[in-house]
């Protein structure tokens, strides 16, 4: 299927549909995906386990998380929040503030470039594209476990019109991809900085380009959250770490603890380690070869990384796949290269952390901030200035609301074009 065919299908099948109708169709499909017996969901769960190495319980949570967010109501709220009206893509609407009428037009064709094996961005990106009434070329990486294929199959079975404007491509030569870019009004690229840089170079200057880069997130525990450091809090922190095997941009890689002494660090290490082990379940603790292989690789990687610096950690807990390390101070700060490795740093004053964040300003994503409401508000200002775009509670890191400003920007609003009628 060429770009021309997709555009023809868009003209024929999509332009006549109202945005509300599309949101309703997509929301209904999401509802089916929430049914644990749904054929496509079961298939996706299997692929996530086999292709991405996620444990079954995690795969179930990932799929549930994705499709809970993509409900009809949430999609309508997103349209209203970002466009001012859920009908902005269907016709003119009057805005009293500007005293003129506006209408939004989605890109005719979007080329999406997906990287890595985190399924959420790919499905969200496709749903956003459909919501904007665009035809979609979806370039997946060679490592992709095939979740997007399953979603697209389910979409075709659910509504042929929506399915007819989407095409997945896997391996393409640079020339072929450039032809797709040239035919598109928008290129959306997810990946590492070098990937984004190389795709951006190939996109024609008049084609809009949006890049979503790799990011880093943290957990910060203010001192009042340690008194006492409850099991519930440990479970919430562990869930953020566990979900996505610490591979997501919303996965905290480091925990900063205000005013922690050796004893409280030991408590955090033990409790969070235990919760991680519980989440992994019995099967992963000793038997599963793939997870043992992953732990083996991570351990080698950590040993190598440790050779490059003189830092030493005081406390270590190895629970199943997970390695947790507590350091003396943030002077030793580094982020482990491998997953399932959590570094915990005590600090005295938030100002000690600011150089760490400012140095990495463009890579900051989210922070799970635990503490009293008053102090959270106060500390949040520092995080906003340090480049973070989401501050939430522990346990909620991996369930961002659909309205969240992903990478600090609008989700739909940066993808479309406006026309004003004065």
């Amino acid at each position: 299927m060429t770009a021309q065919t997709l555009l023809k299908n868009r003209q024929k099948n999509l332009k006549g549909l109202s945005t509300k109708r599309i949101a309703k169709l997509l929301g209904a499909l999401s509802k089916r995906w929430l049914d644990k017996k749904y054929f496509y969901r079961e298939k996706a769960i299997r692929l996530l386990q086999k292709g991405s190495g996620y444990p079954k319980a995690m795969a179930e949570e990932i799929v549930t998380g994705i499709f809970s967010a993509l409900s009809c109501r949430n999609l309508e709220r997103l349209l209203e929040f970002e466009l001012g009206s859920s009908e902005a893509l269907d016709g003119w609407f009057y805005d009293a503030r500007t005293q003129c009428r506006h209408r939004a037009t989605g890109p005719r064709l979007i080329t999406h470039i997906f990287a890595g094996n985190v399924p959420q961005p790919a499905i969200h990106s496709l749903v956003f594209g459909l919501l904007l009434k665009s035809a979609n070329i979806l370039k997946v990486s060679a490592e992709d476990p095939g979740i997007l294929d399953v979603y697209l199959d389910s979409l075709k079975a659910h509504n042929r019109a929506l399915g007819s404007v989407c095409k997945i491509i896997v391996q393409k030569k640079a020339d072929e991809l450039r032809r797709f870019y040239a035919a598109s009004d928008l290129v959306v690229c997810y990946g590492s900085d070098p990937t984004i840089e190389s795709v951006r170079r190939d996109v024609p200057v008049m084609t809009r380009f949006v890049g979503y880069g790799h990011k880093v997130s943290f957990t910060v525990l203010l001192k009042e959250s340690l008194k006492p450091f409850t099991d519930v809090r440990a479970a919430a922190i562990a869930k953020d770490l566990w979900m996505m095997n610490q591979r997501g941009c919303l996965s905290p890689r480091t925990i900063f603890v205000e005013g922690a002494d050796q004893r409280s660090l030991r408590t955090i290490l033990d409790k969070v380690g235990q919760e991680l082990q519980c989440l992994d379940g019995e099967s992963l603790r000793s038997k599963d070869f793939a997870s043992a292989y992953e732990r083996f690789q991570n351990d080698l990687g950590f040993r190598l990384q440790a050779l490059t610096r003189k830092t030493s950690y005081r406390l270590e807990v190895a629970n199943g796949r997970w390695k947790l390390l507590a350091f003396d101070s943030v002077k030793d700060f580094f982020i482990p290269e491998q997953s399932q490795t959590v570094c915990i740093y005590p600090y005295k004053d938030i100002k000690e952390l600011l150089p760490i964040f400012h140095k990495r300003f463009f890579w900051m994503q989210a922070v799970a901030l635990e503490g009293s409401a008053l102090r959270r508000q106060e500390i949040a200002n520092y995080f906003a200035e340090a480049g973070f775009n989401r501050i939430t509670h522990a346990g909620r890191m991996q369930d961002p609301p659909l309205l969240w400003h992903h990478d600090g920007a609008w989700n739909l609003a940066t993808w479309l074009r406006w026309t004003d009628l004065e």
Binding site: Q49, K50, G51, S52, G53, Y54, A115, G116, N117, V118, P121, A142, E143, P145, V170, Q171, Y190, G191, S192, D193, P194, T195, Y212, H214, K215, V216, S217, M244, N245, Q246, R247, G248, C249, S251, R253, S286, K287, F289, A290, A292, Y293, E294, R295, F296, Q297, L300, G301, R303, L304, A306, L307, T308, F334, I335, P336, E337, Q338, S339, R360, W363
Partner: protein, 352 residues
């Protein structure tokens, strides 16, 4: 830096066991001696061993020598001599991790070339010959930092006696020229290629509706796998394509397994057991127990290559496989392991 005595010991080991297996004791003695030297002269490796609590005095058999992860070649200059004194530097292609290329420094290419020539002769030139050689790779001149191109250059100069052309150039592949040359060839041919370049040539033949019936006894040596550059097909299907388009049957298709981090290579005929030279042994480590697996049990492969005299002899790969009586079988990477997501590549932030 390894002394001359050890260098000459290694060279005589290579000469002595070029075409046969070495006794366990001979391998073990030399391996432990090389380990002691590398421990003394390679600072990074020594720190790695210290961190694992291993030193020459605690090692009682070669299998106990700590294997350095191959990834270390991307991060460190792993040498037993000042890197600026290197006679050659080979770099990995960077296909496993973008923008991160492993570097292997060689003080002397003597062992490297002696090793590769002896192994190539042992496993690739057992019976038929002489061959007309065709290289579907870059020449060493075009890719001076590629160990594969260097190897092809050595095969061309030492085995092919300076005969044979390279058909992959920086400006593109010359498949039409190769097709013409092969059609004219009257001798059995030896095609040496990367899996990707050979696949590309087969596709060229298929698209142009051409095929060749190369002389009986002709053979193929392919290496590197598809590396995600094109749609992967199984070895069986790939060799069937070779039979269809070139007239070379699977039993004459040799698969080479090499790593820039190693000085020796392994060969498997028609997708069978990988066999290497007497100075390179392999083990598989069970990631669950961290112990060496018995023959036939799957583990993560580690190679002990004595020809890596000036860097690190013991290399821990990321490949799964299992040991057989005379080699190993390669199974590739574990599904889903060591995958990356949209969490940042941390090397970048740590050096920011």
């Amino acid at each position: 830096m390894p002394n001359k005595l050890l260098s000459s010991q290694l060279l005589s080991f290579i000469r002595r066991y070029a075409a046969k297996n070495a006794p366990d004791q001979a391998f073990d003695e030399l391996a432990r001696e090389i380990f002691a030297t590398q421990y003394a002269h390679n600072a990074i490796y020594r720190r790695y061993c210290e961190e694992r609590g291993v030193s020459p005095s605690t090692v009682t058999r070669w299998q106990d020598i700590p294997a350095m992860p191959a990834a270390a070649f991307r991060k460190f200059k792993l040498t037993c001599f000042p890197p600026n004194k290197a006679a050659a530097v080979f770099r990995t292609s960077g296909t496993t991790r973008h923008n991160e290329r492993g570097t292997h420094y060689f003080k002397d290419l003597g062992y490297y070339e002696a090793s590769l020539e002896a192994t190539f002769r042992r496993y690739c030139l057992e019976k038929e010959g002489p061959f007309a050689y065709y290289f579907l790779t870059y020449s060493p001149k075009d890719k001076p930092d590629s160990s594969l191109s260097h190897m092809m250059g050595v095969v061309r100069s030492r085995v092919a006696k300076g005969q044979g052309k390279f058909y992959v150039h920086p400006d593109g592949e010359r498949w039409e020229e190769l097709y013409r040359d092969l059609r004219r060839e009257v001798r059995p041919v030896f095609l040496l290629a990367t899996t990707i370049s050979l696949n590309s040539f087969l596709t060229y033949l298929q698209k142009s509706k051409q095929s060749l019936k190369l002389r009986l006894g002709s053979r193929i040596m392919e290496t590197g796998g598809f590396k995600g550059a094109v749609k992967e097909i199984s070895k069986k299907v790939f060799y069937a394509r070779c039979a269809t388009h070139l007239g070379i049957s699977a039993k004459h298709c040799i698969s080479e397994y090499g790593m820039t981090e190693l000085s020796s290579q392994f060969y498997a005929v028609s997708g069978g057991v990988m066999r290497g030279p007497a100075w390179c042994r392999s083990i598989a480590v069970d990631p669950r127990t961290m112990n060496e697996t018995p023959i036939g049990s799957v583990g993560v492969l580690a190679h002990y290559d004595l020809a890596n005299l000036d860097s690190v002899m013991a290399i821990q790969t990321e490949d799964l496989g299992y040991r057989t009586r005379d080699g190993f079988r390669l199974l590739g990477r574990a599904p889903g392991a060591a995958k990356r997501g949209c969490s940042l590549t941390y090397d970048r932030t740590n050096t920011a």
